[in-house]
């Protein structure tokens, strides 16, 4: 499913929470959930488990399967737990930034795992520092934690405190919060990032995506609403909707790229959304060709759709080496081997002599696409028609999608025709910007990266 033409450019996180009422091993369940959400972040991961107001935690750099050993899992006892997977582009000090964030505050322990980006974090941070606050990480989550601790001194409950915090923080946040006796799920009023509720017997789960429920054999209950606070405690689940009711702005890139195809977000199947993107693309940019292929894994589903709509047979043109991992040593310059060729190889016998439609979900810098097209042509493809299941990237994202700066975005400096020439394609078509809406079902969505229409003002001035 996961990474395509622009591996390593996006920044994203996944969150999970588990409130046990059945004697489950909470750490094992969080582990499974994090494993299912691994595609949302491969840099670091962690979990915090509440054992009667004592927090057992472990977090580190690495994949879920690397960070947690049997020994470590067995020490993470407790009845409420939260977990986090993270991906970021900054290389340094990242162990400090691993989540969940765990603290002691006025009412015992407070732990948080956060997916998203605030647009006024720097402003809030300045205000808090002026008050004497200290920050030990560079994550927005710590800003939220500070505000929650301060609000908690003035309110009767953590959920009331969080309700107040939500009037202060602006931007994208899907949060799981753990207090001594409660598991709380919060989704920002715009609903930028997904968050859903599951149930396993009498136990409750919060998760970024439904695929994390499936791996536990849990039942999907519903999505958390934009602006909603969901409180789970010994009384069961209840909801606070004071911040609900604003227009939804779900990140369209969750459908196009981030989420797993087997997840359903706000009622829309990710796989179906991608197939539809392919169909729309086929209508908008038809071409006479012999085979439709997808760039694994990100372009596969849209390629299916393109094939279905166009009637051009679907096939495999590229094979992906799955063993590359974090620790692969890239060849040096002198070896003159393109790093994309190490990951992808052409199915020469299947592309030879054919006119190919190649579908991917985006073009960022263009170099990877150019290399793949070159490989296909060298293998004997007579034509390569590039189709992209999203519009061109033109604007930065402030809500948690790590799009490179404008100077690196090929579409900011070149016309479609110029891009086509740069990547060596015989034709090039993007999903028309006015059709993005069809990918999201009836959900309101944010497509600022394509349109520049930011649904809320960006308060922080970029560094």
């Amino acid at each position: 499913m996961i990474k395509g033409c622009f591996d390593s450019l996006h920044e994203e996180c996944g969150v999970i929470g588990f409130y046990d009422n059945n004697g489950y091993d909470v750490a094992s369940m969080i582990y499974l959930g994090l494993f299912a959400l691994q595609h949302r972040g491969q840099e670091s991961c962690g979990m915090a488990i509440n054992d009667d107001n004592h927090i057992n935690q472990h977090k580190d750099l690495g994949l879920v399967s690397e960070v947690f050993t049997k020994d470590i899992l067995s020490r993470l006892k407790g009845t409420i737990g939260i977990g986090h997977v993270r991906y970021s582009t900054c290389g340094i000090n990242t162990r400090e930034n691993a989540q969940p964030l765990v603290s002691q505050y006025v009412k015992g322990t407070l732990s948080m795992a956060h997916n998203g980006n605030l647009v006024n974090a720097m402003k809030l941070k300045s205000e808090l520092k002026a008050r004497g606050s200290i920050f030990q990480t560079s994550s927005d989550t710590e800003v939220i934690m500070h505000l929650a601790a301060i609000e908690r001194t003035k309110t009767k409950s953590i959920e009331e405190a969080m309700e107040n915090v939500m009037t202060r923080i602006k931007g994208a946040y899907s949060l799981v919060v753990m207090s001594p006796r409660k598991l709380i799920g919060i989704r920002d009023p715009q609903g930028f990032r997904p968050l859903c509720i599951g149930k396993l017997k009498d136990s409750y789960i919060l998760a970024s995506e439904t695929c994390a429920l499936d791996v536990m054999n849990a039942e999907f209950v519903r999505d958390v609403e934009p602006g909603e606070i969901v409180v789970i405690d010994h009384n069961g689940l209840r909801s606070i909707k004071a911040h609900c009711g604003q227009p939804k702005n779900l990140c369209v890139f969750e459908y196009i790229y981030f989420a797993r195809p087997d997840s359903k977000i706000d009622g829309v199947s990710v796989h179906e959304s991608r197939v539809l993107a392919g169909k729309l693309l086929a209508k908008a940019h038809p071409v006479d060709a012999d085979m439709v292929i997808g760039v694994p894994d990100s372009g596969i589903n849209a390629a299916e759709g393109y094939s279905q709509e166009s009637g051009i047979p679907y096939g495999y043109g590229l094979v992906k080496n799955r063993y590359i991992g974090r620790t692969f040593i890239q060849p040096t310059q002198s070896e003159r081997i393109e790093s994309v060729h190490i990951k992808l190889n052409v199915l020469k016998s299947n592309v030879e002599g054919k006119r190919i439609v190649m579908v991917d979900d985006s073009i960022v810098r263009g170099t990877t696409c150019a290399n793949i097209i070159k490989m296909l042509k060298e293998a004997g493809a007579t034509e390569v028609h590039m189709r992209v299941s999203a519009p061109p990237f033109l604007w930065p994202c402030y809500f948690g999608t790590d799009i490179p700066s404008k100077k690196d975005l090929i579409a900011c400096h070149n016309s479609i025709e110029e891009i086509r020439q740069l990547i060596g394609a015989d034709s090039l078509g993007f999903l028309p910007a006015d059709q993005v809406k069809y990918l999201c079902g009836s959900n309101g969505y944010c497509d600022a990266c394509f349109s520049g229409d930011y649904p809320i003002p960006i308060e922080d001035i970029e560094e």
Copy 2:
């Protein structure tokens, strides 16, 4: 490509050799080649590099990207190198069994990497022990090494010695051998396992599969012939064909399962062979259905073929979690989570209400298939028709395919109809045994695991 319904049952290896004439960093090239061959063995790997008759080596348990660090690679200097990836089912003492095997012998250093299994290794080992030989590993390779060292005392060259050794050893062996000044490739007279020759500028490569040549941007020269000894030294490449001319018995499972789809073995594209298997299957076992899906990754290509032949649309029904790795902690019994469900999830929206043809390359014990079919039905598939792109496993393999013992093979104890019921399929069809021949082009092949027709007698009595 790699592991399907019966992950962890096969035993296989991959080998590579590089003879530098251009100043390439040999260790880096071997590294890339091993990485491309990783699907042939994920348990251990290693390489030995000849630096003017001093051997620099490193081998350990783990994936290529885990075992080799930048530091280690930089210490592996030299101009000739060989490498090995390995998979085995025995859990203990395996570091000792990692290859290449490196030794000092009468003429300096001798190193070997071996893919295959001898059928008279135990007999030879007994003879050698009776002569006073010691064995420090449990691999057949050490038997070959001993024989080579003994023959070398009576012959004028290592290639002549190997020629004599070939009259002693029986079974499957694709070997790369490194002497102080030569790189030698050998394929057994039956040609059970693949081995091919590549060229990169003036440098030579030997590799189990062509995909290892592709990753280096090397040119495919030709396959090593069954029985051929290929000698590469400062005079270039020459060939010894004294053992050539016997009927070829290429392992049909290389096409069905082992090899990467982008490799070409003995002139036949692996991908095309699998697609053809799917087509033959569709002809042999047609069914009225709405969608053909493949079990990722092993059933994908045959599913393509089934779809093309039957006209039933190809689609995705299962999503595979690629992050599972070696270190994943399986849920305990008490968590009641099937391990196959952790790796595979159903694309519910795509299978709901549909009659599904599910294609995989084999059924071993039947439990995994049964679980997948159950998952599909729970997701709303109205029918699941299982199609297997190979005949049923009925016989043990003595040539390097790790098929479980008869007591564990579902097909040894049940009729097709009984298997169908056990796995919960609505219908079940295997590739007819008499059609296996079409998968191998014009190559002679071994299908003893289906037919019991062993091309050479098995001399060792099984322990």
Copy 3:
């Protein structure tokens, strides 16, 4: 030198700071300093280096030589640095408690490393939490950090802020503080823990002990005075003495056990102090014997003194295995092997037939001593006279010496004669309580662990 009869019971830390004016590699110098201070804490260590207001840091569980690799050191660039070694008895979550503590605050970055224990940390923590503060570690250092950040919003400089903080915090603290442009050293007004100033060419060093200066070939300048704030910046070193002038209460256990014998603390050689303790002991508890031995390493120096005063020859009776390390696997109960016997063995030929005076620096539970005495007698010692170079432990320490609770202290429940019988000694003598004063030169000292006379009130009620 370091650990004696009661290994693993003390809690202590060591701190170091380096302000470069000569182009030294600051991380390497901090590394050397921490290595020299390793005896003050073997559980975790870390350093933070200020590279023009960006903090490069690394900390982890383990010894200095384990935590820092060449690679890591080379990434820790900068011109001001602080470091910390730590020992604690709590096993869990300790990575979070590793120091230095690094934060962003109103004026950029603020980093601290702390040796000592506050006696009003809990009270201050409660006040801070009531104000909305969060705590991410369980160390007192974070309390000081919070107060500093708050004070800094009201003051003109970090040193002024720290001066104010010192009116709030009570207890033992030797602190190194790093702001964007300053290195600051602070010693609490009672001077419980040592801190000294060194100079290497034009560069300044702060360190817990002089042995850390020696390893860098740095020159000893002077000790920081109790209550003094030493500020080092581009103007050189200056001093703030607003909190100076209270009676000194240097921890007497620094001389008896903690510090390295080659260090000089507040003008007194640690080695000389220990030798003197041995002499006083010989005067107070003379005995007729053949050889004086010390329990390595903590009793060695006092044994020297006992020998010199008594005229009984000094000799070796015990050999210590130095390879035991953190990772040694203790024998199980069933193996019936005393863990002290694994570390210590008797020089049978040297003790056989002799009357032995055995000197150590303390008796805590008594079990270790009992085992050593048993070993000596089994080896043929005819008499074993135990001499302890400190008075009996009777009171808990609140200033950073981890003395077990009263229930575990043998001296709280037994008379001297009862202890003698329990440990199997032929006679037993402790350093008389009224002679402790001689160990500290002219320095005022704290001996509350022996006397119960706490120099300042303990505000926190123990949990």
Copy 4:
């Protein structure tokens, strides 16, 4: 005890064997024994345990406490076991050289651990290679293993085979050999290296030194005689003395440096031997001085003796940092810090103004001594008189003591007076060569490194 002026120059090994008759956990006992023998080799270690003719083994680079985890130990089941610790100066490929060496041979499994060096290994290796043998390590042990396997084809028992092997191999070897049902201990006819027998209830132990018996609380039975083969099986212990009766040539350096002071070798206490060396030194090279100090740890015991004989008080002048370990990062040249200063610091207060006698066990290159003397003088010592408890090194050792080549030996190129000037001592005295005999009790000994009198001819020409 362990490493002195010339750390990292010697090559040595330690061996251990355990034959269980009482239900002991053999791996744990071997672990304890190896831990006690760690001073004989810190580079790699390993053990092999015989579980009813199946060998469970583990070996790797590192200290005993690093190489073995609880998990690994628990998998090493069985009733007979052997172990090895090893030190060598060659940095590369050493994992392959780790022992015990384990093999399958004509009669099942054969395992060996070896301490010593053969003087005709190369000659034997050539003969074996000419016969067709292969060598997978560079250790002499493999030569012995080959010969044993060949002899076993012609004899009735492994002990008879070993008896024959002993007629072929020349040099130093203390061997523990494990066959499917026997534990065998062998000491070469000259008795170069020690080997002793212990008993724990009804179980037998073989060990390089008695300190390994002590740690298990085992009873010392006796030393293995030079030339003796000791066979332990279900019938108990029996002895083969066909090779006994030659003059003993115990390595004198075992007493001077290698062995632990608490060990007794061939009836002589190592500690007593060193004290005696100090006494002899005092008689041979008296001097008027204020304090005798030893260089820790190797010079400590001889310093005791010097003090006793001379009447000059014994004291401490140097403190050793024990935390340096394998992984310590040496300062770079530019830091101008002598590596000896990192390990050793002067007790300034104790040497200031004093005339010092400094005792160590050897001078190799002279640089370390020179640095220590410089440190002492800088600390205020008015005179430093160097005394060495052995004669000067003049000849290479072929029996397992790694003495550097002549070009690096200071005594090969300089007179005593020249050495004195080079190291900056006020006087210098070595143990007179004719007094070495007193260190060994009534044992015959080898002092070829001092005298050049090799007790047996060196057949191999040095490479």
